[in-house]
């Protein structure tokens, strides 16, 4: 029987991990919502952002969080270009399937370029506060995990506000719901989709930087992340940012708690059990997923 202390510690760790998952998954669900694009390269962009954060810290001596000033707009621009220049050329009828192939190729290219530019040597950002923590009712909270959670909270709140409270957000949600109808009421859906895609990749810049604070990175690391993230967006309901956030917190917590009785190997299967259960029982997802009813 695990002690109450271990249980509470695992809850804390699970929530912090869930927050990180939410940040990493938010962009992924946006892509699918916007264009029905399965963005396999999302996690490769996360690792690219992590490397840029590492480079900023290691070579320039600047705190890795400051790399966000450059990487967020850079990734936004890359997202717009990627959507307008590449994905928009795919035929609507085969868009989703072809996007798997094209973004898979992009992921491989990013991995190869990272290996070429930074070598296969595994890197970790060295921070004075990297192992710092404080106590919360007997459990330890790591500063870097809290920072990552904070970045997730701020980013998701900003994204939510943007989607709900701005004209661009309304246009984007309309495009997500029904592209043709949106066009009929005068929305430039191509431009909106491009910016929406840029927004998704901008979240990858934030997510990758958050990831870099507390993990050792190497070029092929993205393959370890894309599976759980895909599971999260399905459980949360494709296209639903709040759904992705809720699913991420739930699954992160479940993974952390299940490690107590089951160990790390079996605990990570919670993502795939949840994915299977979702598709079997509620294919539109458990949170907010009216959109998915269309598939």
């Amino acid at each position: 029987m695990p002690s109450g202390g271990l249980l509470f510690q695992s809850i804390i760790l699970g929530l912090l991990l869930g927050g990180l998952y939410a940040l990493l998954a938010a962009g992924l669900t946006l892509y699918f919502g916007i264009m029905r694009v399965v963005m396999i390269a999302h996690s490769a962009f996360l690792i690219l952002a992590a490397y840029l954060a590492w480079w900023t810290n290691d070579r320039l001596g600047i705190d890795p969080l400051l790399s966000l000033v450059v990487t967020v707009p850079l990734f936004f621009g890359a997202g717009v270009l990627l959507q307008r220049g590449l994905l928009s050329r795919l035929r609507p009828a085969t868009l989703t399937m072809m996007s798997v192939l094209i973004t898979f190729a992009i992921a491989l290219m990013i991995e190869g370029l990272l290996g070429y530019a930074f070598t296969g040597t595994q890197r970790r950002i060295q921070l004075g506060y990297g192992t710092a923590s404080f106590e919360l009712f007997g459990a330890r909270v790591a500063v870097v995990k809290l920072i990552a959670f904070g970045l997730a909270a701020v980013s998701l709140a900003a994204l939510y506000t943007l989607m709900k409270r701005t004209q661009f957000g309304w246009a984007l949600r309309a495009t997500i719901q029904h592209r043709d109808a949106a066009r009929l009421v005068g929305i430039d859906t191509e431009r909106t989709a491009g910016f929406g895609f840029g927004l998704g990749l901008a979240t990858a810049a934030v997510g990758g930087t958050a990831l870099s604070l507390d993990t050792t990175i190497y070029p092929s690391l993205h393959w370890h992340w894309i599976g759980p993230l895909m599971a999260i967006i399905v459980v949360g309901g494709l296209g639903s940012v709040p759904g992705a956030a809720a699913a991420a917190l739930l699954l992160g917590l479940a993974q952390s708690l299940l490690q107590i009785p089951m160990g790390a190997t079996w605990a990570q299967t919670v993502f795939y059990v949840a994915l299977f259960a979702t598709l079997a029982v509620r294919p539109q997802g458990f949170f907010g997923g009216r959109l998915a009813q269309r598939f």
Binding site: P2, S10, Q122, R124, G128, R140, V144, Q255, A264, Q268
Partner: protein, 409 residues
């Protein structure tokens, strides 16, 4: 152990005798073997691309250093130069089989030596055995390698995974009752090598009465070590042992520090000997132990020459992967000189028989093997002491005293 000079003299005499014998036969067919001044061709398939490319290239450098250093000293068997034929198996087990088939069957190399990792060593050793070839390998340490029934295989390292920590186990179990650690936590990657190192120590400590309080196995794709660290921290063991590769060891150590857990002893395989280790964990390395097969500082005779000449050739000092390749070459060279031959055919069995009966001095110390090719030694134990990693065990190789209990992270 025969002296190098006497061995060389014996080889020269044998070589001269063979030459006279051939002359007496009136220039008859030499049976397909090389003449006395032909190069000795050594075939190798290595993972130069794919998952194991970085260690694969390291081993390649070790072989290249061995060939160059040996050739600069006149070669083997009284003047025959070593020539390497290296193929890329792309870290792929099917490809490695095709490569060795090609090297032995088609290219007719004189000798073959092994690739990197258990996953590639097992299939390639099987090919070599089918052709009756000697197979000395640099980096297949898992138990799986030695239960295949190979008669021709020799692992050129001080110990297999299960025995890496033997010196540390002996040291700890010899401590007086009040000082000996009573409880241990283990966290090992689900990988035959990483798990083997940790569980080898676990088996010996449990036999000595040290209790296991946490025993975690995690898959290679684990990205979050917080929960594993939480279980260890909650159990408060005296000692923590990581069966790690690199990033997992680093991630676990940082996670343990974040949870404010302070062990009396922390031992991790592989990770602490990586050049990036100190940088990765912010110089909070003090007292961390690791088994190692190789150290640039090890006091073995041929190691000084190796470090000096390797550095001259490649512009940096050798690490473990390079040393593994070099050691393999040393083992093969010793057998060749002793048996007086290097070609395919009956010669291979002479080489195999000699290695089963003799000890070879190498850059990682003296090596000898059991019938399965398992080395019968133990790894040196290194510890981070004063911002550097130093050999602390065994006593005859140590550079510093083992620090126990360990200072705060």
């Amino acid at each position: 152990m025969r002296s190098p000079a006497r061995r060389t003299t014996g080889a020269l005499v044998l070589s001269a005798a063979l030459t006279l014998g051939l002359a007496a036969c009136g220039g008859g067919d030499d049976g397909g073997g090389g003449g006395s001044d032909d190069p000795i061709v050594v075939g190798i398939s290595l993972p130069l691309t794919g998952d194991f490319s970085e260690p694969g290239k390291g081993v390649q450098e070790g072989y290249e250093a061995w060939a160059k250093i040996t050739n600069d000293k006149g070669g083997l068997l009284g003047g025959r130069k070593i020539e390497l034929k290296i193929l890329d198996d792309q870290s792929n087990a099917d490809r490695v089989v095709a490569d060795y088939e090609q090297l032995i069957g088609s290219d007719q190399v004189d000798l073959v030596v092994g690739p990197f990792s258990t996953r590639l060593v097992v299939p390639s050793a099987r090919v070599a055995q089918e052709y009756g070839m000697l197979f000395v390998e640099p980096a297949g340490a898992a138990a799986e390698v030695f239960n295949q029934g190979f008669k021709n295989l020799f692992y050129a390292a001080p110990a297999v995974a299960d025995d890496h920590y033997n010196h540390l186990a002996e040291y700890l179990l010899a401590l007086p009752a009040g000082e000996k650690p009573e409880t241990v936590a283990y966290a090992a990657m689900d990988d035959p090598f990483a798990q083997g190192t940790a569980y080898g120590l676990k088996k010996k400590l449990e036999a000595g009465g040290v209790k296991t309080v946490v025993d975690e196995v995690y898959p290679p794709n684990t990205t979050d070590f917080g929960s594993i660290a939480a279980k260890i921290a909650a159990a408060k063991p005296d000692m923590v042992v990581g069966g790690s590769q690199y990033q997992d060891g680093v991630n676990l150590i940082v996670a343990l520090q974040q949870l404010n857990y302070q062990p009396k002893l922390a031992a991790f395989s592989t990770a602490p000997t990586n050049p990036e280790f100190a940088k990765a964990i912010g110089n909070k390395t003090e007292g961390i132990l690791s088994p190692t097969g190789y150290s640039q500082d090890a006091p073995y005779e041929s190691n000084k020459e190796f470090v000096e000449k390797f550095t001259a050739q490649f512009g940096r000092a050798p690490e473990e992967d390079q040393a593994n390749g070099y050691t393999t070459g040393q083992v093969v060279a010793a057998a060749v000189e002793a048996a007086g031959c290097a070609e395919q055919g009956d010669c291979q069995q002479k080489l195999i028989d000699w290695l089963h009966s003799n000890t070879v001095d190498t850059v990682v110390g003296p090596l000898k093997w059991d019938a399965t090719g398992k080395p019968q030694g133990a790894h040196m134990i290194q510890q981070w002491v004063g911002d550097d990693i130093k050999i602390v065990l065994p006593a005859d190789a140590k550079e510093a005293d083992l620090v126990y209990p360990k200072p705060a992270w």
